[in-house]
């Protein structure tokens, strides 16, 4: 009986009201958690896309630098080389015998589950054989569901072996009765990219008609330089890494670009644009497009809905324009490739720099060096769907388009297709249906940004072409965590990245803040703070909502703008470097690393002092950052050189990282408790995953 109104408890007015109150409160609490999760994911996503933009700019800058990457050596030579690599008796990993059988794939899976590594000789042989098989495939493969009941389609894996193994566990291994299609982005970011490739290629060799692969935007050696795959190979395979990387580039270029199931379902990695022409796409030699990322940021001019690409031109390394190559030359007939010398002298490097600067300056006047087919490929690998009609350049990523429902409808109608399946975007639930059911995004890497950030999913397509989704999430922890704890982990990780991002642009930000604060009080209003941060960082984030997590507020509600920077500092270890240079080094660390890698032709990890200087010159001309020769010289002198006058550039760059000055012990312990010795919690100084 209710004490308040003396009626039977269950029907009592007060019980109902109490229940509603609790429910309201709880839903409010959940909504706030959802908000935090959303902005954490927004932070991860915008930082990721901004990096992709920077990457695309860097790649296109390097289009003009001929590398000797293209000279992979003739096939015959390679085979001999493989036979000369001895596999020692002490090697206990899997030994493959070609042609591969199910026994080989089983032994590979078994070995990788126990964290073993495949020997370089087998890797090379595997890649060699894979290239032979892929060469015979058309650009767009046609599949049919009539032979087996269902086909399973998986999205991005990004080097996460646990997710692939989980998919095989839930859905069975690939076989004639269980066909699979993997929609690109197998590598980068995760730490088992090569193992995933080995498994996928091995299954491809055993079941060439039942395991299918599409190329993704990360199947591109310049992307691999930034996003970790090149590093993984170099670390795991050392002296053999160069051969492996070269052969890998060939294999990438032979990966099919799209698949069509039952003539009704189109599957590509990124998406489409209003210029996508499947017939044209099928015609050209896809292996000529080695690095799709390198031609994307030359922009596109839109005249209404039509794409105006200008004349395609081929530029030699000395800057001389040759006659325009006809499209026909890129089709089935043979192509005359201009000869490219493998080594450049210092003089030639200088010429390259000058040419690049010139070309970059001319960029705004008219688009040069645009390959129509390259752009088509870029659209397929980089585009994202959007909810409003139209087709606009994808300004978040810097490549491809954002295509609306009308573009989808038009394309599907033109080729008599029913739907489009694509990947490329991380979705919280692992999949998303958009454009009124016509576009499906499928993403198979769970916990992509951070442990607990998202689920992964795969879809099964039956002959009725009705998709069925299966979701999963790899979880290292047996202890059940509440939603609040999971969100806290993701949020904390996102905010940490964002704080580091703010710190890396410290000087520019302080300059922008000072514009609102002429009297140097150290305080500005929230609106002023938000617009300053937005203008410097160029990240579309809800700054006001994030404000309380990034800066301290004064009593009157104004923002103390210097407080974001007070607890972090860049540690450069023992390198004596000028403070101004330190910030630049930290901010452009990844770009520098890539430039170093391109210069370091033999992948030794070492460059000479002269090459070091050249790197900076290239860096200057790419990013228009003016660093005078004297500073470079001082920097070069301060570095610890090896006896032969070379430096280990990875070691040099890794020295520049942000550390927390006053380690917030309480917060650290709280998060540590939540994570239970989680390996993804990266402490500065310790090597992360």
């Amino acid at each position: 009986v209710c004490l308040l109104c003396q009626t039977w408890h269950f029907f009592c007015f007060h019980t109902i009201k109490a229940a509603i109150l609790i429910q309201r409160w709880y839903r409010c609490y959940m909504a706030r958690l959802e908000m935090r999760r959303q902005y954490a994911l927004s932070i991860f996503q915008s930082i990721e896309y901004a990096e992709e933009q920077a990457q695309l700019q860097l790649s296109s800058f390097f289009t003009f630098i001929p590398s000797d990457f293209n000279t992979a050596g003739s096939d015959v030579q390679l085979l001999e080389y493989e036979q000369t690599i001895e596999v020692p008796d002490s090697y206990h990993g899997p030994r493959l015998s070609f042609p591969l059988t199910v026994a080989d794939t089983n032994s590979l899976l078994h070995a990788f589950k126990r964290q073993q590594q495949l020997h370089a000789r087998y890797v090379l042989q595997l890649l060699h054989e894979t290239k032979k098989v892929l060469k015979q495939m058309p650009n767009i493969i046609h599949l049919s569901t009539s032979y087996s009941k269902e086909i399973t389609i998986c999205g991005d894996l990004h080097g996460k072996l646990d997710d692939l193994l989980l998919i095989f566990y839930k859905n069975g291994l690939p076989s004639e009765e269980n066909p699979y299609l993997f929609n690109g982005d197998f590598v980068d970011r995760g730490k088992n990219s090569i193992e995933i490739l080995i498994i996928l290629f091995a299954f491809l060799l055993v079941y060439p008609n039942h395991l299918h692969l599409n190329r993704g935007n990360h199947e591109d050696h310049i992307m691999n330089l930034r996003y970790g795959f090149t590093k993984e190979i170099t670390k795991k395979y050392r002296s053999h890494s160069k051969k492996i990387l070269n052969l890998l580039q060939d294999v990438y270029s032979w990966l099919p670009l799209a698949a069509i199931i039952d003539n009704k379902v189109l599957i590509v990695h990124g998406g489409i644009s209003d210029a996508t022409d499947l017939d044209f796409l099928n015609l050209f030699k896809r292996n000529k497009v080695r690095e799709p990322s390198s031609s994307s940021s030359y922009g596109r001019r839109y005249k209404g809905d039509l794409l105006d690409v200008g004349e395609p031109m081929w530029l030699l390394h000395d800057g001389v324009n040759s006659s325009p190559l006809l499209e026909a030359q890129y089709l089935e007939s043979s192509v005359r490739m201009p000869s490219v010398p493998p080594e450049l002298t210092a003089k030639e490097w200088k010429q390259v720099c000058e040419t690049n600067t010139e070309l970059l300056q001319n960029k705004t006047k008219k688009p040069t060096c645009i390959y129509k087919w390259n752009l088509f490929v870029v659209d397929i690998l980089w585009s994202d769907p959007k909810n409003q009609n139209g087709c606009t350049p994808n300004k978040f990523r810097g490549g491809g388009c954002c295509f609306g429902p009308d573009v989808t409808a038009r394309l599907l109608k033109r080729y008599n297709l029913k739907m489009l399946i694509r990947s490329h975007e991380c979705k919280q639930e692992g999949y998303e249906i958009s454009h009124d059911g016509k576009v499906i995004t499928i993403f198979s890497a769970s916990n992509y940004y951070e442990n607990g950030s998202n689920r992964g999913a795969y879809l099964k397509l039956n002959p009725d072409l009705v998709p069925r989704f299966v979701q999963y999430q790899v979880s290292k922890y047996t202890r059940q965590q509440t939603l609040h704890q999971r969100v806290s982990v993701v949020e904390w990780s996102a905010l940490k990245s964002l704080r580091e991002k703010l710190y890396s642009r410290r000087s520019e930000l302080i300059a922008a803040f000072r514009q609102y604060d002429p009297n140097d009080t150290g305080r500005i209003s929230t609106s002023e703070w938000a617009s300053a941060v937005e203008s410097v960082l160029n990240l579309a984030l809800p700054w006001r909502t994030l404000r309380s997590r990034l800066v301290q507020l004064a009593q009157d509600g104004s923002v103390e703008y210097l407080s974001s920077f007070s607890d972090l500092e860049i540690d450069s270890r023992e390198h004596m470097v000028q403070p101004a240079l330190v910030e630049t080094l930290y901010r452009f660390r990844t770009d520098l690393e890539i430039i170093f890698n391109i210069i370091d032709k033999d992948h030794s990890g070492l460059i000479s002092i002269e090459e070091f200087r050249q790197t900076w010159k290239l860096f200057n001309s790419h990013l228009k950052i003016d660093i005078d020769d004297e500073s470079i010289d001082n920097l070069a002198h301060s570095i610890d050189f090896n006896k032969d006058g070379s430096i280990d550039f990875n070691e040099f760059l890794e020295a520049f990282h942000v550390v927390n000055k006053f380690e917030n012990k309480a917060e650290h312990c709280r998060i540590s408790n939540l994570l239970d010795s989680c390996p993804c919690f990266s402490i500065p100084g310790l090597s992360g995953t």
Binding site: C2, L4, H9, H14, T15, I16, K17, A18, A19, I20, L21, I22, Q23, R24, W25, Y26, R27, C28, Y29, M30, A31, R32, E34, M35, Q38, Y39, S42, K386, N387, Q388, F396, C402, Q480, T482, L483, H484, T526, S527, A540, P542, W543, R544, T545, G557
Partner: protein
């Protein structure tokens, strides 16, 4: 039906203040702030909250997320009240949130005037609500009781909501919901 959370506060504890027009309103501690700045601050706060859910950065949000947005701003409307608020816009799949702003002028006023039904629920009121449900006055609810109340009374929880609440609320050793501790923990978590 509209429920005022102050209905749960015993009569004699409610403070009443007489207004000039002789009507009564409940008193709240007031912060001194310039009303114009306050209003535009709140407006910006609301826009910002919408921006979190504006995935394509083109000033649109999915209409299904508006409830979450409103709640994340600190309002605690019931499902019914939310439904009424959204009745105007729920026919559109995507809503341009500048038009939402006009419609949420009501929302802004409520945040300004702090009408009870939109205020965040204070700890002590929440505690009293649990105490009402705790018939035997033993300081805790059994798991079954909580499930029954939450899924059968008022505006029932979905299975997912119930499971999520249980994962945090139930003390694994005794298999009961010690609600005082639960509330304290949730409040700490929030901050």
């Amino acid at each position: 039906m509209r429920y005022c959370l102050y209905d749960l506060v015993p009569f004699e504890q409610r403070k009443k203040v007489k207004r000039k027009d002789k009507s009564f309103h409940l008193s709240f501690p007031k912060k001194e702030r310039d009303p114009q700045t306050k209003r535009s601050d709140i407006q910006k706060k609301i826009t910002d909250a919408f921006e979190v859910f504006d995935h394509e950065c083109n000033k649109t949000v999915d209409v299904r997320e508006i409830g979450t947005i409103i709640r994340s701003l600190g309002c605690c409307p019931s499902e019914g009240e939310l439904h009424d608020m959204l009745a105007e816009v729920s026919s559109l799949p995507f809503v341009i949130f500048s038009s939402i702003l006009k419609f949420t002028k009501a929302l802004i006023f409520s945040l300004l005037c702090r009408r009870p039904e939109y205020r965040p629920i204070p700890e002590d009121v929440l505690l009293r609500a649990f105490e009402v449900l705790d018939v035997n006055k033993c300081g805790h609810l059994t798991k079954e009781e909580l499930v029954k109340y939450m899924t059968e009374e008022g505006e029932p929880f979905t299975q997912e909501e119930m499971e999520e609440m249980l994962s945090a609320a139930v003390d694994p050793e005794t298999n009961t919901v010690r609600y005082k501790d639960y509330i304290t923990m949730m409040v700490v978590d929030e901050n």
